[in-house]
Each structure stands twice: as structure tokens, then as C-alpha cells.
Symmetry: C2
Subunit: 385 residues, 2 copies
């Protein structure tokens, strides 16, 4: 298949297309997975950029692997979170989205099979489709990817790569318990395939105990981390943690992709991580997002039609819902926009078998009063149908 | 061919590997294509980042196409340089290296032919090789790509893409005259292929009149621009100028690559372009680099062995040389490093038929006194052989 034809098949992300639609100021949007802007530590970042931009070395080209100080600081943070990591295990990327693309460039050939949770992060689906991969869905339940389904896919379809968001998944909000992670890690190791653990939300926990990253259970796991949800997404700072056997290929792919990530953004992040108590900031984020999550979940029974089901996430940014009966939530969205409220229809998150009755609500972007008002509008949109 | 095998064939950039080797403070390096750090407008960028980082919107996600203000400012600048451009024609990229990768993702399929000048920018070769393209060389003379050779390749090898650096080329320093550009543009249009015009150096002119970009002669030209050489490379800011038929595919590739380029770097660049007289800054760069160019060219006859030939660039960053006889400049480099001076051997810049007697000297990184001292060391290295 030619790239032009392949690209015609890869639709532009509906989430991002919607961002345009929903940017009218009168719309309360539960669509995009945006952090709360009022929670950004503008003062901290401003100080960090003042220091970073005052050093002319930060305007020059840098090394492909990334700022050594930043890599050391990220390694330290990951080690503290329970995943022993050294700076050499890390490649700084232009957001964790790039880490995903680099891994795909390094490991996936057109025609290769990539196994994905169904539903999953849609920009990951786009990335794999763009590489010409064949997507094979793995069933997921309320605890995420189902090991028995993965075992069957590994046996039958021989994937090159398995992709999962094990913690507070996008779009479902689901989390794999520790025992399931161990099971999945064993399966992956036994079949000698790579598993990509995409973990942008892991630190946004609102209840329960943290679950160890999947990467703690196997060295066949390529871990993707990000500062977007705990720091600021505008800097586009993420990282790949990979074993020494994969790293050289990822570094070559990174060179071809953009030589290296912004020197000045990396330097500012290194200053920020050194001078700021990021743990305290994350504690603040957790408190604010927990209230937003609770506000949305509490409003749901009075908002959605009887028979609707939804996830009850322990963390992250998303509630995943399913309407009863034969409904297309893309049509519901059209009605919702008339009431100046927005969400994302669920179908694009499915690799193979879209469930058109599903949709995703993001609860982090809006303060509680706007969530209440947005849910009121959503109730009206449902009533009008 | 599997990606792992393909990556094994794509060597890590010798230029970047050398950067590590030559970072010993006692080495005078003519190797990397680095702008002069002392010429960076630290105050201007520092002010720009102070303003940009004070606005919390610049810490949030942005649109894939790029900051609208920055796109408008770049379009205006390109229009002033003789290439009529609107903001809609532009996609902001994470350095122009990324623009090259996006174009490749959008247009090149494994097995496709990409025609390249021989020799050419080696990270472009890596990018095409990584995409599984078959590289076909087009002969070049002192005026760059030879139209007759291009015509033959277009006829015989049916490339998907033609890649050229028409102005102050890397590594040769050569520039295509206007008449040749017109001829090349006609050939490309007649054969309905795309030509990538990579133009990071176009504004760094030290003598003669500016030559219009190749893109002024045909809408089959995809133009890559960059702030790295006239502003600061650390920000990783470049752009793709493409017709409406290619842009949607490039935007989808960009989404998958990194969602968008750093919001804060784009905002800072928009502030910088609004508040600073970049033309005046570029005039200063030209004066400084002209002196460095002249210093190196003047020192060459006493430095290199008799019979050595070299290019005499009108602009850019590089002098391209060829030693007489059967010499491998990689071995000369080993000797040069003993004398604490470095350059880049020429072989990796060739897609197909490496000429091991060639090498590249960069004259922008070091001040004139260091250039003189570096050339003295290089002379000693040649004498010792």
C-alpha cells in the first residue's frame, strides 16, 4: 500500500479535530485530554526558563540522547517510584508520543502485527497504522488487558509488539492489578516479543496504592514516560526507558526524527526538577483532580440515560461510558455541541471492532463548577434526543 | 528487510559521533556544523522566553500545525525573501530535520527510489535509508546537481522524491545558479515527482546576489526552512512549506511524530521575531562568518598537500576538499586528532560511491584566531604523514 493510500486510511485524530470545534469559549469541553491550565506552575517554569535561557550553551545543538542532567534527574525519579533506572537507560524524547514513534520505527516493519488493547489510545493506533502494521485487538475487561486473550493473540498472530496503557488507561481509565501485570510480563517474555508500557498518567492516583510499572516485571518492556501530565505538556518532554539491545536503534531513529529534543526545554526541565518539589506539586494535582473526578462521577447517574455504564477510575483523566441500545455517540456529540458541551465519541479508540455506543469524558480540564454545569448541559442534550 | 537489520545498516551519524570525540576542550573542531555560540543573541532570546513563559497558555498543548502567530511571521519573512507564502502553507516542525522525516513518512514507501545529490547531507541519507528507500545518486559539479544527470535518473529510476540542498550545500558549499534551478524545476514538474529543497543556510550569504529558492520555480517543490542557523538551533524550530495536496498527510505524520512542536519555544520565537530585528542580526552573522570563511580559505594553500582541491563557497558553513591520490581521510582524521584538530571525513556523505579522499571543514564555529591555529595544527598533521 502506498503511503498516500495508507495516510488516507489514517484519519486525522478526531480528538484533535474536535479541539478546534470545541475551542469556542462558550463550550465546556470534556473532549481533549488536557491538564488543568490553572494548575500549571507558571512561576516555577518561568524561573526555570529564566535560568536556562541565560546560558548560551542552551541555545546550541545538544546530544541526541538528551541533556545528561535531565536524564539523571528522571532516572532518579523513576528509581524512587520503584523502577530502578540509570541515565543510560533513558532517551529524552519530544513528548512520549515521539518515544512511541521511535520504538515503532526501530522495531515494526510494514505488515508486522502489533497487538493492542481494545479500545486504546488513538494516536498510538495512528502511529502503528502509519508504519503499515496490522493491528490485532486484545480483549480488555475492568482490569485492562486480559491475559488469556493476549496469550491467544501471541500464539496465533505472532505480533512484533504489544502496546498497553496499564495504569489509568486512555480511554478507559482502567488499571491492571499487580498480579495481572506479572502474568502479562511472563507471557511477553515467554514469546520473546516487546511490550510498550505507555505511562503518562501513572502519578495521577486518587485512591488506593500505586501499582508497580509493568517494566518492573520484565526487561522485555519498553517504558514511555512523560512530563506532560505532571509538569506541562507544552514543553513536549517525554522519555523512553529501554534495554541496551534496543537503545542504539532508538537513538538512530531519534537522530533522523529531529536530531535531539529542544536543548532549552530540557535545560529548563532540569532546573525545574532540581529547584522545585515536584512531589508536592503532584500532591496538589491529585487533590484537585480527585475532586473533579468525584464531581463528574457523582453527576453521572442524573446525567446519562438509564442503562448507561461507566468506568470508575482510580486515577488519570478519563471516564469511559457506554450508552444502552443501538446509539452512535458521534450523533449524540452533535446534539451536545448545540448545548455547548463536548466529549469524544468512542469509536476511533477501537483498532478493529468499533463500539459506537461508547464515549470518553475527560474530568481534569475543567474546575468542579464547570463540570457540574457541563454535566447539566449534557443531561439536556440527552433529554432532547 | 527487518527494521533491526535496516538500522544495523544505517550507521549512527559520524558527525554526531565525532562531536563526542572532539568535545575535549583542547581540540579545535572543524567537524560539526555548529553555529558560533558567541554570536547567539542570548539577551534577545532570554527576553523572549521571559515573555513566553509568563503566559500559562504556552505551557498547554498546542495545535499540530503550529503557533498561528509564528506561522504568520515565518510566512511574512519567506514572502519578503521572494517566495510568496501564507501561514496555511506552513507546518512548524521540530527542526527542519523533522520536516524531512515527515515528508519521507508521507511520501516514501520501502523500496521506493529517492534521488540525491552525490555527496549530500548525511542525516538526509539516514532518514531515507531508515524509510527503506533505495538511494540513487545524481551527479553534481561546482554548480550543484547536474540537470542532465537528474534527467537520466528521472527517466531510468523513476524516483518518488528528489532531495537537494541547492544553496550553500552541505557538505560541498555549492550553490545552484538561477538558470539551473529553473531547469531542475522543469524536469521535476515534467516527471510529476516531488523535490525537497532543504534550505537551512540560504540567508548566510557572504558575497554575490541571493538566488531565488528552487520553490519559486515549481509547486512540485517541498521547501524546508529553519531557525537553527539564523536564530538558535537549541530551540529545534523548522518548517515545511508544502502545497495543499501534501499538507494533510504531513500533518497526520506530525501528529504521530510528536503531536506538535514545543508550545513555549514557538511562542518565544514568535516574540523574538516580533521584537527583534532579525535582519540586522543576520547581517552581523554574515560579517562574522565571511571573515571566518576568508580566514580558512586563505590558510588552505599552506595547510593542505599540493594537489588538494577545494570548494570556494559563497555562503553557508562548509568548505569541501579532496586530497590528491589514494588517501582515506578517516586515517588523516586520526592523525589530526593527535594534533588536537578535527574535521569530518567525506565518505559518509556519499549515498552510493564514497570518495574516501574527500573531507569537510566547517568554518562558522570557531573565531578567526582559532581557525588560524587549527589550520596550523592541520598542516602539522599532514606533514607528519
Amino acid at each position: 500500500m502506498s503511503p498516500a493510500r495508507r495516510l488516507a486510511g489514517v484519519k486525522s485524530s478526531p480528538v484533535r479535530d474536535l479541539l478546534a470545534l470545541t475551542q469556542r469559549p462558550e463550550v465546556i469541553s470534556f473532549a481533549g485530554g488536557l491538564p488543568a491550565p490553572e494548575m500549571f506552575d507558571v512561576e516555577g517554569w518561568s524561573d526555570a526558563f529564566a535560568k536556562a535561557s541565560d546560558d548560551r550553551r542552551n541555545l546550541q545543538y545538544g546530544t541526541t540522547e538528551g541533556d545528561p542532567v535531565l536524564r539523571a534527574l528522571i532516572a532518579e525519579r523513576m528509581t524512587r517510584r520503584g523502577l530502578p533506572t540509570s541515565a543510560q537507560d533513558l532517551l529524552v524524547t519530544t513528548g512520549s508520543q515521539q518515544a512511541l514513534t521511535l520504538v515503532t520505527t526501530a522495531l515494526v516493519e510494514p505488515g508486522d502485527v502489533v497487538a493492542v488493547e481494545e479500545p486504546t489510545y488513538l494516536a498510538a493506533l495512528q502511529c502503528f497504522q502509519l508504519a503499515g502494521a496490522r493491528l490485532v485487538p486484545v480483549a480488555s475487561d475492568e482490569h485492562g488487558m486480559v491475559p488469556a486473550s493476549l496469550a491467544e493473540v501471541l500464539e496465533k498472530d505472532r505480533p512484533t509488539l504489544v502496546y498497553a496503557v496499564p495504569t489509568y488507561a486512555n480511554p478507559t481509565g482502567r488499571t491492571q492489578p499487580a498480579a495481572r501485570r506479572q502474568e502479562i510480563a511472563s507471557l511477553v517474555a515467554a514469546h520473546d516479543v516487546w511490550l510498550v508500557e505507555d505511562d503518562p498518567y501513572g502519578e495521577l492516583r486518587y485512591r488506593g496504592e500505586p501499582v508497580p510499572p509493568l517494566a518492573t516485571y520484565s526487561d522485555r518492556v519498553l517504558y514511555l514516560g512523560s512530563l506532560s501530565k505532571i509538569g506541562a505538556p507544552g514543553l513536549r518532554l517525554g522519555w523512553l526507558r529501554a534495554p541496551a539491545s534496543v537503545m542504539p536503534a532508538a537513538v538512530i531513529a531519534k537522530q533522523a526524527a529531529d536530531l535531539h529534543t529542544s536543548t532549552i526545554d530540557q535545560a529548563a526541565a532540569a532546573v525545574y526538577l532540581s529547584n522545585t518539589d515536584l512531589d508536592a506539586h503532584v500532591t496538589g494535582l491529585r487533590a484537585a483532580y480527585r475532586e473533579r473526578r468525584d464531581t463528574m462521577i457523582e453527576a453521572l447517574p442524573a446525567t446519562v440515560p438509564p442503562g448507561t455504564t461507566w468506568s470508575d477510575p482510580d486515577g488519570g483523566m478519563f471516564v469511559w461510558l457506554r450508552l444502552p441500545g443501538e446509539v452512535d455517540t458521534a450523533e449524540v456529540l452533535r446534539d451536545a455541541l448545540k448545548h455547548n458541551v463536548a466529549f469524544v465519541p468512542g469509536a476511533p479508540f477501537f483498532a478493529v471492532r468499533p463500539d459506537h455506543a461508547t464515549f470518553r469524558l475527560s474530568f481534569t480540564t475543567n474546575p468542579p463548577e464547570d463540570i457540574r454545569e457541563g454535566m447539566r448541559r449534557l443531561r439536556e442534550a440527552f433529554r432532547d434526543r
